[in-house]
Amino acid sequence: MNREEVRQAVVDILEDIAPDEDVSSIKDDISLREQMDLDSMDFLDIVMELRKRFNIEVPESDYQELVSMASCIKYLQPLLKDRQLAS
């Protein structure tokens, strides 16, 4: 996956867990919580989806890496670099 594909993977997950939010307008450098109504349960959902979809385990100590779209991509890209985006 390239950077854009990793971003798309995160967008797909966000669309699933926050179906009422407009995910298309998310700004990468601002924290997700400031742009969407996300609570700690939502972040847990992101972690569960990453495990389900890509078999990636995000340890609790790394949860802060998921704070913004940019930090998500930075954290996930090395882990996803050999994967194909599911069509």
């Binding site: 609570d39 847990l44 569960m48 495990r51 389900k52 078999n55």
Partner: protein, 482 residues
């Protein structure tokens, strides 16, 4: 011949969930959706745990714990269940207080509470804002130094009327007292203040029916009348469970049974370290409840006197008095026809917090008399709000801590799980035994409909992590069907 409730069950599952309270059901649903084979075992014939109801002759349907939950439940239904369930959530706007210190009605949200605290109680806006901010910022992992009493004392010194306004509903919601950690108050209070109090239109029966359908759709093997007698543990690993005398293999167990029963009865102390058991023994159970169910005759109506009514004749808020068998405080939940559209029926449920020991040792005769007394005194209290209640109602029944114990198997019939220390024990279970998890009412904040369901998700995440690590290691599917 006795029916075999395990007929057709597999000999092994990935996960066995013990108990179908809201935490157990939500966890089972998540785990099945994540691709695990799940057996959900419930000893009772009904599912739901304390999220339950009963039906009686004359078309009466009585809800046990549908008093009201925070708006967060909408999201929880939507994400972990179905949109249909989320769409059935409606708001309750008439929350009433009536006690010697004040009488008022509120929509039970931050805006209205701020107004009332300012205008009625004369508190300065800045102090109110600061209080809400402080409560909102509490986290369950914070230090436990401050009690709710100290929290109130620092914001509203000596203002027992304000304390009562802020505390009484939460005592009913989660059993917490002034002497419990402030955060167990702050988190639950803030959840409600966010948007108010909500309920499920259609009633508990409709909700549990939908949940059952969803569980089946997602592949959960639901077994009612199935009592889990033992969790089999070898070395430090879960190997299976014994249900109705039959052994079933599994790699992990998620117990929605009470945390103390899970450790002492189902797993057995011998499987844990002695330091851990020492900590377990310090866990205090929460108190229980009494309820009186009042079914209004078919065709009769009662005026709208509010949805939730917190009444007390006690001069001040007092934890001991709230628990006392000489009842001074009651919460009435009024169920109007909007609750179950199409049925056009009314019902009233009175709840009081209560101690198991006050009810446990009565003779059969005494117990019967005490229950009658409870019904009578409840109707006396209710007459103030619904004057002709004795003519309008034709069904009366009482539940005591003993009743709660019988149906939930929770020790001392606790209706709010354990005090705060139970949470750490619940979280640490898998560190003691690989594959053993607990979810359910612990530590007050994980109680109530929202707390229980969300804690189910939190633990389902842990179980999924564990099962995946096993599957990754072995690279083959463990369960086999017979």
């Amino acid at each position: 011949m006795k029916r075999d409730w395990l007929k057709g069950a597999n000999s092994a599952y990935d996960v066995v969930v013990i108990g179908s309270g809201l935490a157990g059901m939500t966890a089972a649903n998540m785990l099945a959706k994540l691709g695990h084979s799940v057996l959900l075992a419930e000893h009772h014939y009904n599912m739901g745990g304390l999220a339950t109801w009963f039906k009686r002759k004359g078309g009466h349907i009585l809800d046990i714990s549908l008093h009201g939950f925070p708006s967060g439940m909408v999201k929880t239904f939507r994400k972990y269940w179905t949109k249909e369930m989320a769409d059935s959530v409606i708001r309750l706007k008439g929350i009433r207080f009536d006690n010697p210190q004040f009488k008022l009605i509120t929509t039970f949200d931050k805006v209205d509470f701020t107004n009332i605290l300012q205008e009625r109680f004369g508190i300065v806006k800045e102090v109110i804002d600061d209080f809400f901010e402080t409560a909102r910022n509490m986290n369950f992992y914070d230090e436990l130094k401050m009690t709710t009493r100290e929290l109130f004392e620092s914001f509203f010194p000596g203002r027992k009327d304000v304390w009562r306004f802020l505390m009484e509903p939460i005592t009913y919601a989660n059993g917490s007292t002034l002497d419990d950690p402030a955060l167990s108050y702050g988190i639950v209070f803030s959840n409600f203040m966010d948007k108010g109090v909500f309920t499920y239109q259609g009633g508990t029966d409709e909700l549990i029916k939908k949940m059952k359908k969803e569980l089946i759709k997602n592949g959960v093997d639901i077994r009612t009348h199935c009592l889990v007698e033992k969790i089999h543990i070898e070395g430090k690993n879960v190997k299976g469970v014994k249900i109705n005398g039959k052994d079933i293999e599994c790699r992990s167990v998620l117990s929605n049974s009470n945390i103390l029963s899970t450790i002492h009865k189902l797993a057995g102390d011998e499987n844990f370290s002695s330091e851990f058991i020492k900590e377990v023994k310090k866990v205090r159970l929460n108190d229980s409840s009494c309820q009186v169910y009042i079914g209004i005759k078919k065709g009769e109506k009662i005026d709208n006197v509010g949805d939730l009514l917190f009444t007390s004749v006690a001069e001040e808020y007092d934890t001991e008095k709230i628990l006392d068998k000489q009842v001074t405080s009651r919460t009435f939940s009024f169920y109007y026809p909007e609750m179950r559209p199409g049925l056009d029926r009314f019902a009233i449920v009175s709840s009081t917090n209560a101690r198991f020991k006050d009810w446990a040792n009565l003779s059969e005769e005494e117990y019967k008399i005490e229950k009658e007394k409870l019904i009578k005194s409840t109707l006396d209290a209710l007459e103030k709000y619904v004057p002709d209640i004795r003519q309008k109602a034709d069904y009366f029944e009482a539940a005591t801590p003993k009743t709660f114990k019988r149906y939930t198997l929770a020790p001392t019939g606790t209706s709010f799980g354990t005090k705060f220390e139970g949470l750490k024990i619940s979280r640490d279970l898998p560190k003691q035994i690989n594959g053993l998890y607990h979810s359910g009412s612990v530590g007050i904040i994980m109680s109530g409909w929202l707390g229980a369901a969300n804690y189910g998700v939190i633990v389902a995440n842990e179980v999924d992590k564990f099962m995946r690590s096993l599957k990754n290691k072995i690279q083959e599917m463990a369960p086999t069907s017979v």
